[in-house]
Amino acid sequence: MAAKVLTITSGKGGVGKTTTTANLAVSLARDGKKVVCIDGDIGLRNLDVVLGLENRIVYDLVDVIEGRCRLRQAMIRDKRLPELYLIPAAQTRDKNAVSPSDMVRLTDDLRAEFDWVIIDSPAGIERGFRNAIAPADMAVVVTNPEVSAVRDADRIIGLIEAEEKGPARLIINRVNPAMVRRGEMLSAEDVIELLAIELIGIIPEDESVVISTNKGQPVALDGKSRAGEAYHNIARRLNGEKVPFLNLDEKEGLFQKLARMIKPGGN
């Protein structure tokens, strides 16, 4: 097996990177892929909480890097799925405990055994971001339909291009069709027009995300909610399937129009 290393990033905090990492990992594992996710948010770990695995942490990423345990020992298996693992972040260390080349070495050790290595990046453009992007084969930028989130996404997309990891792909999270209709929120078209990268998914604002996060059960585990379905579709697109975009709005044709706007590989 030769894993693809996928880094989930955004620039701005709170836009849904961790939610996306957890749900894509779960969706890919549900489709029979071997998946390991790495919490790159050292000092502020929370991927373990979102996945409901926090009680099982013994060792973390920094323990592996500093040689206090073997890689295997820091990998927590999610028992709900056949092949889903988490390498948690250290809670008490800062980002400088890890370097970009540490991350490259670590992921190289995982590549042979997995289909997907998914890295959850911290907010910001500093060391934590560079650690997360250094080993990436592919980058996904998560944004919300808000001016400030889009501005940060634009900056991050530029940095990903500069690191020669581009072109990044885009997920627009927390879209509220009713607000877009009333002109109170940027539309997905507005966001794509500015960022001009390939769209791989739109996730609606969905309260089941918050509820499931609090329970440590990512929405994608059962795929019954709109958000869960949207995440599952992204996972299938990552595996090369052509999946039409969900029609989040009653208004016919909007997402067909969107699909036409996608410019693969554009920058």
Binding site: S99, I125, R127, D154, G158, A162, L194, A196, N267
Partner: protein, 229 residues
């Protein structure tokens, strides 16, 4: 100060920290020598702010990014890269590195008048200038792509954007009032020519190609109708 055995690499103190200069030769060898040097002199260099002068070498963004990371592992901040190659400069700028230090190298000082030499220089940037990225050049700048909000363009001469201009532009930054700014869609966050600032008009209707220039001390915006002012 010349290092023994490694004549290709020099370190000296400058106002902004340390300036490391590399000489001629294969980049691979120089890079290895550089990395060995930071290894050997780790204690001396720890916490230092370093500007790196790579002379004529053409470096890719990955090369520069790798160096910066290796430096940062030794707690050295690589904040600037000086180069004679516009390609290297562009790559450095894309990574957010400065390309000039406080005391510019003498051969790089270009006076406002020199930008009006026959056969003026221009750079062509074929990419989108995204938020937080800056392009600066003493001559003219031509961009094929958009300048997004938060992107910045500084030119000694004129600026042509074959795309949407939504960021910030300062043309004629050394005082050249003959500089112009053209864009297919003119919606800048701010626009200056020499010492003049464009008061951004409310956009009415569909954006069209426009040119902005200074005439009689006023900044004029004009629709582009295949005529030159």
């Amino acid at each position: 100060m010349v290092m023994e055995k490694k004549p290709a690499i020099n370190i000296k103190g400058v106002r902004d920290g340390l300036l490391i200069t590399v000489g001629e030769g294969e980049w691979r060898d120089l890079e290895a020598a550089l990395l060995q040097m930071i290894e050997e002199r780790a204690a001396f260099l720890e916490g230092a702010r370093v500007a790196l002068d790579v002379g004529n070498h053409i470096l890719r963004a990955v090369d520069l990014g790798k160096l910066r990371d290796r430096f940062s592992e030794k707690s050295i901040t690589l904040w600037a890269t000086l180069s004679n190659s516009p390609v290297t400069e562009k790559n450095a700028q894309a990574l957010g590195l400065a390309t000039r230090i406080h005391t510019p190298r003498p051969e790089r000082i270009i006076h406002a008048l020199d930008t009006n030499l026959p056969g003026e220089t221009a750079i062509l940037v074929h990419r989108t200038v995204r938020s937080g990225f800056k392009i600066s050049h003493n001559g003219h700048i031509v961009i094929i792509g958009d300048v997004n909000p938060g992107g910045e363009i500084f030119a000694g001469g004129s600026v042509v954007v074959w795309g949407r201009l939504k960021g910030m532009v300062h043309a004629g930054m050394d005082g050249d009032e003959k500089a112009v700014v053209c864009a297919l869609e003119m919606e800048p966050m701010s626009l200056r020519i020499a010492g003049y600032t464009l008061n951004l008009p409310q956009r009415r209707g569909k954006p069209e190609p426009e040119m902005v220039y200074v005439q009689d001390g006023r900044v004029i915006t004009e629709a582009w109708k295949t005529k030159v002012k």
